[in-house]
Symmetry: C2
Subunit: 186 residues, 2 copies
């Protein structure tokens, strides 16, 4: 299962987030990022297509932490139970030690419309993959799409809360709170 990678890619991500927060994305070059991470520009481009992509995990890795647990959920699970398995799977991607860096990253994304668009596209792609996984399990439409999109809404709200100043609860707890609130809406 994918996690925050400790090698060159992880150092490049950390360096980029720091530099974007310090001096803005436009003012930061790939050379700056590589220098702070202690690697060559060539190494940067072995891992990332451009300086924006460095803020985003490879989409297949990110989606897999949701999709694999959904595939492995028991056969009799309801659509929302399957979605819950996916959301809980995502917590492996966001351990406590990743929270400070994720807070800085969120601030950079909020300040740049082009990054916000990319983040929205990636969440939309995740919702589509989750809906497809539910359909593979025999869930019909529109139930599969609604369950998947309710799930990504819970994820986004819980992730935003996890990043809020002063919040100390773990993501897993915030996700379960969100799922309970979703059920209580009825």
């Amino acid at each position: 299962m994918a996690r925050w990678e400790p090698g060159a890619a992880g150092r490049l991500r950390k360096a980029a987030v720091e530099l974007f927060a310090e001096q803005g994305m436009e003012e930061t070059t790939v050379a700056d990022i590589a220098a702070r991470a202690g690697v060559t520009e060539r190494t940067f481009f072995r891992h990332f297509a451009d300086k924006r992509e460095v803020l985003f995990s490879p989409q297949d890795d990110f989606a897999a932490v949701f999709i694999e647990p959904m595939r492995q959920a028991p056969a009799g699970a309801t659509p929302l139970q399957v979605v819950r398995a996916g959301l809980q799977g995502s917590t492996s991607f966001f351990p406590t030690e990743r929270r400070p860096g994720s807070r800085v990253r969120a601030g950079v994304i909020a300040a740049h419309p082009a990054l916000r668009e990319r983040e929205l596209l990636k969440m939309d792609d995740l919702a589509e993959r989750m809906a497809a996984t539910l359909r593979d399990r025999g869930v019909g439409e529109p139930a599969a799409t609604l369950a998947a999109r309710s799930g990504t809404a819970v994820f986004s709200a819980a992730f935003g809360a996890w990043l809020a100043d002063g919040e100390t609860r773990e993501l897993a707890e915030l996700l379960d709170e969100g799922l309970a609130e979703l059920s209580a809406l009825r």
Copy 2:
């Protein structure tokens, strides 16, 4: 309440969708669109900032058809009942006569990633406005955000179904089917 406008802006929208579908967005100029609509380029730019924007209604007009009925919902309404009022309000924006043009528009957007990003941003903005409207009514968080985002998920699924080849049911019926499916997920 805003509707598909019949004047110059409406003719420009119709002309643009036709031309984008016939020859692609890149190959179509503002001059082409203005000529087909029977107006000057100057008139085009009085209504739209660029040729992409012609595919999107002004966001305040689009959002208002959801937000106003939410504000006017009875004081005792549950968050989902308020969201339902907003979704049903949106049907005034999509009368039957608008369906053929909306189908062509959806095909153009699907073919252009930059347009898909703009559409996602506009739906994300709508979800934020709906959540803010619920908070104004005293709904707490994360309930307000989850109700709003479940609502936009229902809208997107119903709107996609409304545009599907051969679908003859009205949007209002598809929205209520989606809301029922959402409740049945629990």
